[in-house]
C-alpha cells in the first residue's frame, strides 16, 4: 500500500477554504490556491489553524454544522525532540467530525497534514491547535517538517 518515493505535492489535495468565522491569527498555509475552486466542491473542508492558549482551545470547541455534522474531537499531542511522547499515533474520525489537534512541541517546527494539506506553525512549548472538519475520507499522514519525521495518521472513515 505504501510506495516510498515521494510525499504529497504541496498543491495536491484540499486547499483550505476560508473559515466561517476567521480565527484571530490564522497560520494555516494556503498554498495551491489555484486549485481552490475545484477542491471546494465534492469534499471541501473548512479549515482553520488557531493559535490559542490551551485553556481557550479546550473551552471553546467549534461546533460543526450541516448534514454531515459529527462529533467534536480534541486530540492532544506532545512532541519532544522530534518524537511523539504523548497522544495517539492514529487519530480515527468519521466523515463530518470536527477535529482539533492540539499539539505542543519543545522546538519550533511545522506540522503538515497531508490530503487536507493543512499546515500549522509550532512555537516552542506553546500549544497550537489545528481545527478542521474531517469531510474527506481516507488515511492521511501528518509530519513535522523541520524534524522531517512522520508523527502519525488521521483516518477518516465514511459515515
Amino acid at each position: 500500500m505504501t510506495a516510498a518515493f515521494f510525499a504529497f505535492r504541496p498543491t495536491e489535495g484540499l486547499t483550505p477554504v476560508a473559515t466561517v468565522a476567521p480565527p484571530p491569527n490564522p497560520v494555516a498555509s494556503e498554498r495551491g490556491s489555484d486549485a481552490a475552486s475545484a477542491a471546494g466542491t465534492a469534499a471541501s473542508a473548512t479549515a482553520s489553524a488557531v493559535e490559542s492558549s490551551p485553556s481557550v482551545a479546550s473551552a471553546a470547541p467549534l461546533p460543526s454544522s450541516g448534514p454531515l455534522a459529527g462529533t467534536v474531537q480534541t486530540i492532544d499531542l506532545v512532541v519532544a525532540r522530534g518524537r511523539l511522547v504523548q497522544g495517539p499515533r492514529v487519530i480515527t474520525a468519521r466523515a463530518g467530525d470536527h477535529v482539533s489537534i492540539r499539539i505542543t512541541s519543545d522546538a519550533e517546527d511545522e506540522l503538515h497534514l497531508h490530503g487536507y494539506n493543512l499546515k500549522l506553525h509550532l512555537q516552542p512549548n506553546e500549544p497550537q491547535t489545528l481545527s478542521f472538519d474531517a469531510r474527506r475520507t481516507g488515511r492521511f499522514t501528518y509530519e513535522l517538517h523541520r524534524h522531517d519525521v512522520e508523527l502519525g495518521a488521521l483516518e477518516v472513515y465514511p459515515r
Binding site: M1, A4, F6, R9, R83, Q86, G138, F140, D148
Partner: protein
C-alpha cells in the same frame, strides 16, 4: 526493564531510520477495507468460482480451440504500423529516458518537484503497465534501451556481435533478480531523484553490456526485466502487436479475445513461473509489510527471540536493532516469490495426483502459470490505482518544469489536479477488481485444463486444487487490503508502558 517496556522502547526507536526520509515517503491514502466487505468479497470469490465451474460442466476443449486471432488489415492498420510512426515514438521514448536521468542528476533534490520520480514510478511504473494491459505490448516496440543499443550497433557494428551464447539454464533468473532489486528500490530504497537517475543510468549501461555480450534480441527476451514484466501483462490485451523483423518493417496488429493471449503459450522456463509469482508476491508483500499484524509479528514474536539467540539477552544499541527489522523485511520480500512458488507447486502436485496426469509437475506448473497473471494484475491495480490518480496528473505540471527550477516551458506548470477518491469508492473498486481478476483466472485455468486433459471430467477434477489455490490467493489479497496500517509509526506503544526514554 520488563519485556513489554523493552519492546515498546524498541518499537518507538524503530522510527529512527525513517527520519530524513519523511519527505520521500508514501502517498497512499487508502483506508483498510472494512471486515464485512472483505467477508462478502471472499464469499463472492467462492460463489463465482462455482458459477465458472458450472459453466464448464458440459464443455469440451474443441469449443475453445475455435477462437482465433484475426489480423487487422486496411488503411488504419497500415497507418498504425507505419515504421515512421514507431521510429518517432522510439525517439520520444529515448528522449523521455534521457530527460528522466538528466532531471534527477541536474534538477531539484525534492522528490515531488522533480520530473524523474513521478515519471518513473507513476507514469512508467503504473500508467504504462495498465495501458499495456489494454492495448498490447507497446513498450516492446519503443523500448528506449533497445533503441539506444540498435543505434549504437548501426554506428559501431562490432559492438553488438553476440560474443557468447546465452546459457539456457540461466533462463529468467537474472531478470527475476533485477525485478527483486527494483521492488526493493521502490519499497525501501527511498531513492532521491539523483539516486534514481544513477540507478537508471547503471541499468542502461548494464543492459548495453549484456546486449553486447549476448546480442540485443537475447537481452530483450531474457534479461530486460521491465520489458518482460510489460510483455507478460500485455498478454491480457485484446490486441497482439507483432513486432517487425527489422526497424524498417511494418508492425502488425491482431485482434483476439481479451486474456486469450495468456493461453497462447506456456513459459518455456521455470524461472519465468517464479517471475510471474513475484508479480503476485511483491504486491502482496507491499500490502502487508507495513500493516500492524506484520510489524507486530516481528517486534513482539520474532524480535525477542532474535535478541536472545543473537546477543545472549544483552541489549544492543537501538540503531543496530532497527537494522535487523529492515534486513528481515528485505529478506521476506526476496523470499516471497519462492514462498508463493512453493504453495503453487504444492497445488500443482495435487492436480497431478487427482488427475493422474502423465506430465511432470514442472510441465504442469508451466502450463498454468500464465493463468495467474489476471490475479497478479488486479492485485497491482487495487494497490496502486489511487496513487496513479493522486500523483499521475502532476506530470502535466512537471513537464513544464522538469528540474524543479520554476520554469514554465509549455505553460502547464501548476496544472494537473490530483484526483483523491472517497474511501467507499476505493473499497468497492478494490473488491470488484479482485473478484473480476479471480473469475478470469479461474476461467482461463479451466480452459487450459480442458486442453491438457481433454476429457471434461478430468479437467473438472484437475481444477479443484487450482480453485482452492485461487480462492486462497484472492482471499489473501482481500485480507491484506483489510489489515490496519502501521506505516511510519511501526507500532503504537501500549498505554500501560512508560514512554521510551
Amino acid at each position: 526493564m520488563s519485556a513489554t517496556r523493552r519492546w515498546t522502547a524498541v518499537a518507538a526507536l524503530a522510527l529512527v531510520p525513517a527520519q530524513g526520509f519523511a519527505h520521500v515517503m508514501e502517498v497512499a491514502y487508502n483506508l483498510p477495507v472494512p471486515l464485512w466487505m472483505y467477508a462478502y468479497g471472499a464469499t463472492g470469490a467462492l460463489l463465482a468460482s462455482f458459477v465458472v465451474i458450472g459453466y464448464f460442466v458440459k464443455a469440451d476443449a474443441g469449443h475453445f480451440e475455435s477462437r482465433t486471432t484475426r489480423e487487422v488489415h486496411g488503411r488504419v492498420a497500415g497507418a498504425l504500423g507505419a515504421p515512421a510512426l514507431w521510429r518517432s515514438l522510439r525517439v520520444v521514448a529515448v528522449a523521455l529516458l534521457v530527460l528522466t536521468i538528466a532531471s534527477g542528476l541536474f534538477g531539484t533534490s525534492q522528490p515531488a518537484a522533480n520530473f524523474n520520480i513521478t515519471f518513473f514510478w507513476v507514469i512508467f511504473g503504473l500508467a504504462i503497465p495498465y495501458l499495456s494491459a489494454a492495448v498490447g505490448d507497446i513498450y516492446g516496440l519503443v523500448n528506449p534501451v533497445e533503441a539506444i543499443c540498435r543505434a549504437l550497433r548501426r554506428t559501431v557494428p562490432a559492438l553488438f556481435r553476440e560474443r557468447a551464447a546465452y546459457p539456457p539454464w540461466l533462463g529468467y533468473w537474472p531478470a527475476l533478480a533485477m525485478y527483486i532489486g527494483f521492488i526493493w528500490l521502490e519499497l525501501f530504497g527511498h531513492a532521491a531523484p539523483r539516486t534514481l537517475s544513477i540507478v537508471l543510468l547503471g541499468y542502461v549501461v548494464l543492459s548495453a553490456a549484456l546486449a553486447a555480450v549476448f546480442g540485443i534480441a537475447t537481452w530483450a527476451r531474457y534479461l530486460d526485466f521491465l520489458g518482460i514484466f510489460l510483455r507478460l501483462i500485455a498478454k491480457m490485451a485484446p490486441v497482439e502487436i507483432v513486432k517487425p523483423e527489422s526497424a524498417a518493417g511494418t508492425a502488425r496488429f491482431r485482434l483476439r479475445a481479451p486474456f486469450s493471449g495468456l493461453l497462447a503459450e506456456h513459459p518455456e522456463h521455470l524461472s519465468l513461473v517464479v517471475f510471474v509469482l513475484f508479480m503476485l508476491s511483491s504486491t502482496a508483500f507491499d500490502g502487508v509489510h507495513d500493516t500492524v499484524p506484520w510489524v507486530t509479528l516481528f517486534w513482539k514474536h520474532l524480535f525477542p527471540w532474535i535478541q536472545t539467540v543473537g546477543t545472549g539477552g544483552h541489549a544492543r544499541p537501538y540503531v543496530e536493532v532497527v537494522g535487523t527489522f529492515y534486513y528481515w523485511q528485505w529478506l521476506m520480500m526476496s523470499l516471497s516469490p519462492f514462498a508463493y512458488f512453493s504453495v503453487y507447486v504444492f497445488f500443482i502436485a495435487l492436480t497431478k495426483w487427482v488427475t493422474g496426469a502423465r506430465e511432470n509437475v514442472g510441465e504442469l506448473a508451466r502450463a498454468f502459470a500464465f493463468t495467474l497473471i489476471p490475479i497478479a494484475f488486479v492485485y497491482h491495480v487495487t494497490h496502486y490505482f489511487t496513487l496513479l490518480l493522486a500523483q499521475g496528473p502532476a506530470i502535466v505540471s512537471l513537464l513544464s518544469d522538469p528540474l524543479g527550477r520554476g520554469w514554465n516551458l509549455f505553460g502547464t506548470r501548476g496544472h494537473g489536479e490530483s484526483v483523491l477518491l472517497d474511501a467507499g469508492t476505493i473499497w468497492h473498486t478494490q473488491v470488484w477488481l479482485i473478484l473480476i481478476g479471480h473469475v478470469v483466472s479461474v476461467y482461463l485455468a479451466h480452459i487450459e485444463a480442458l486442453r491438457l486433459f481433454r476429457s471434461g471430467r478430468r479437467a473438472m477434477r484437475s481444477q479443484l486444487p487450482m480453485l482452492v489455490l485461487m480462492v486462497v490467493l484472492t482471499t489473501a489479497g482481500l485480507w491484506i487490503l483489510s489489515l490496519p496500517i502501521a506505516a511510519g509509526q511501526v507500532l503504537e506503544p501500549p498505554t500501560t508502558a512508560a514512554p521510551a526514554e
